[in-house]
Amino acid sequence: MKDICKSVVKKDHDPKIKGETRYLVDYNLTDKGERILCGKLLHSPYAKARVLSVTVPDLPEGYFYIDKTDIPGDNNVNIVLDDTPVFCRDTVEYIGEPIAMVAGPDEKEVDRILSEIKVEFEELAPELDIRNGTKNFFEYEFGHGDVEKAFREADKIYEEEYLTGYQDQTYLEPQGMMAEPEENGVMYVHGSLQCAYYVHGAVMRALGVDASKVHIFQDPTGGGFGGKEDFPSIIGCQVAVAAKKANAPVRCVFDRREDLEFTPKRHPSLCRYKVAVKDGRVTGADCEVIFNAGAYSTLSAVVLQRGIIAAIGVYDIENVHVTGKAVKTNTNPCGAYRGFGAPQTFFAMETMMSHIAQDLGEDSIEFKERHFVKQGDTTSTSGRYHFPVPLPRMLAQVDEMADLRRKHKEYMKAQTGRYRRGIGFSAVFHGAGFTGSGERDFIKATAKLRKYKDGTVEVLASNGDIGQGVRTTFPKIVAHELNLPLEKVYYNHPDTARVPDSGPTVASRSLMIVGELLRRAAIKLRTIWRDNEEQEVEEHYKEPDFMIPFYLDRFEGDAYPTYAWAVSAVEVELDTYTGLSKILGAYGSFDVGTPVDYNIVMGQMEGGFLQGLGYASIEKMNYDNKGRIRNNSFTDYLIPTAMDVPNLQVKLYVEEYPDGPYGAKGAGELPLVAPPAAYIEAVEQAMGGSKRHKLSFIPFSAEDVIHELNKEVL
């Protein structure tokens, strides 16, 4: 293990474990000593309705009602397209859409006012089913080879349909933002967020002011997982407009029910796959991918792009055709969640491969293995796998941990009795960094180092620590290059008044992209280092020169410079009386390149793995025929506890990436992606395999197991 991999005590360990870290909700007063008004949203009770009138009760002094008419700038939140309003326009488009905010000093009084606001609606028919959605926010199509020919010449053609449900990020700290009007007309907005500069752009637009009049700060953030990528821009605009009207600080913090019901989640999906097999080999795949975007487009374009690029999994397939659609429904807008569209399509492709193998009478591990891509192979978008693909060696690692191959064959044999076992396997990649030429064309990251006279060095970047540890790993890289003790280098939470735009905290990019900029900056600083002087160095992103340019209009070229790889196995014992599956073991081998801190990377892998298992099994959330999400509390939306996956084993496999710092690649999202298909294959195997019970959706609950087993009796 390289020196840089050795774990250190995280920079934020001490204040966090002592409970001294001040999250947004922990401010009693602003830093200037001002009283903070409590802001709460009036949410739409209808999935689609025209707002005819709003009657607000007489407001006591010091209380404010804020809606779209109070927006000084544009009633559009800057995300990808311009369709998400700060406060609803003439119609509401989903249950929970913010109509207005009430702000005032006392929370109970704010609640009373909210309860007395009378809104007259004209109910309209909502669109709730993606199968007959009438509006597609985005549609994409690409491919290579000739799929029609592959189908014509196939020995056998397989067609299946896969469904995946919502998944909520369920960070422990709910969403919240605060805005404070400052002197000279500057609006200071801060809170629990991943992307300070996203909020910056959004607030500028809503207030109709230039960059110098807005100032964003990330407070310590109690988890994000993608959920705080775009949504803080929306609440950020709402509190900014409210603070402007009240001319006082306004804070809006969601309670758990609001957060579960009304904030972005993973897109539910429907994938229709048609696969051609000739001579025991997959020769063609036609993949139709449909994502439920919800009522506004928010991040759906980019989520869908990543999803469809992963549509054929880690396999070398000659003829490919992929279409993708993000369909509008009158439901909560979906957004970013760890994996960003890829968990849905990987689930479909991995399960499809397993079903085909079982139909062909071949062990699915061996079948998949025969189709693994290799270095130099073509990607789904006609780019290239430029670097070694370590899947076979990672599979060997998991086999050793889990006794995978032997058990996989053994459990395939007929089982009887109450308890039956299964073990499933799945292999995936995660494209490192932004999709396509996003880093080069849109993000254009800049990072800085500032050395002070006392010899301390400050990292200046906009990537927020949301638990993943960049407040530790960034300084670690810099200290390493400057040969300084770690205490001499520090990284505060980003403040747009002080730091350059090094891009958002998304796409598993922070360490690989910005970490590398900092490494280069540190080398630069080392060469010009002069004692007792303040010095600053800056680095800008440069696209690696091996990249095949990516064209989004054709989905052609290198969608990612490199890939992180994962192999997972999940072993279950199914109770056929209750449908409960006990996870006997969960095993993963992950290649995220060099771990720039072993413990931190292991924490990411284990945490992501557990989220992936939750996604596949117990994390059930859906909406009813009115478009209302019913699973809006911790008793109805279950995430794994410490007792649910008692045997979770993770190993790292290191395939270094030359353009990442010390060989590091993107890490954060990868571990969530493989477990769902592995879990489903395991449960399916325990039920007798796909010839008896073909499983094709997640989450697959105990109830679904019993429902499926009951079919057998009939």
């Binding site: 774990s7 005590v9 995280k10 934020d12 360990h13 001490d14 966090k16 474990i17 002592k18 409970g19 001294e20 870290t21 001040r22 999250y23 909700v25 922990d26 009693n28 990020q169 369920t170 960070y171 422990l172 700290e173 709910p174 310590p220 953030t221 109690g222 988890g223 994000g224 997982f225 309670d255 758990r256 949301i466 638990g467 993943q468 540890g469 801190d597 413990n599 931190i600 292991m602 924490g603 892998m605 284990e606 945490g607 992501g608 793995f609 557990l610 989220q611 509390s633 911790f634 008793t635 995430i639 506890t641 410490a642 007792m643 996956v645 008692p646 979770l648 993770v650």
Partner: protein
């Protein structure tokens, strides 16, 4: 006169508000014990866990009237102890703290467990922490940290 008297982190206090107020809100808003986090207000996440007479409770599901004449410990009061230091060191060595929001509750759940059972097995630790949700870590690092603290801090509990 009519207030609710209890001990908070070793000091006598008297709360003058309603006996039905949530202990969670009282600790945070009146006594500024900001280590006590609100994750759900329904007793389903453990972020607000505190010790009352050395027993673990979710403070969101306790009305302050119930704690009259009892002794409450939050991390603010626990953090100077040797037991806390042993736990903190073990958590640090495994980087078991990620976003940090569940951590004060997790630390108190660990303390409650170790006081009852100074040498728990892995399964006992998992059960002891089963009411404290963590979305970041997958629990491995936290569970192992508690096991390490129990070994290295032998004699403290």
């Amino acid at each position: 006169m009519n207030g609710i008297r209890f001990r908070l982190n070793g000091k006598d206090v008297c709360y003058e508000g309603s006996a039905t107020d949530r202990l969670l809100d009282v600790l945070r808003d009146t006594y500024d014990m900001k280590s006590v986090k609100c994750g759900c207000k329904e007793g389903e996440c453990g972020a607000c866990a505190v010790l009352i007479d050395s027993v673990l409770y979710n403070s969101c599901c306790v009305a302050v009237g119930a704690v009259e004449a009892h002794e409450i410990l939050t991390v603010e009061g626990f953090k100077e102890t040797e037991q806390f230091k042993a736990l903190s060191k073990a958590f640090a060595e495994l980087s078991a703290v990620q976003c940090g929001f569940c951590i004060p509750g997790m630390v108190l759940a660990s303390q409650a467990l170790l006081m009852k059972n100074p040498h728990p097995t892995k399964e006992q630790v998992q059960e002891g922490l089963s009411g404290n949700l963590c979305r970041c870590t997958g629990y491995n690092a936290i569970v192992n940290a508690v096991l390490n603290a129990s070994k290295e801090g032998d004699g403290l509990w």
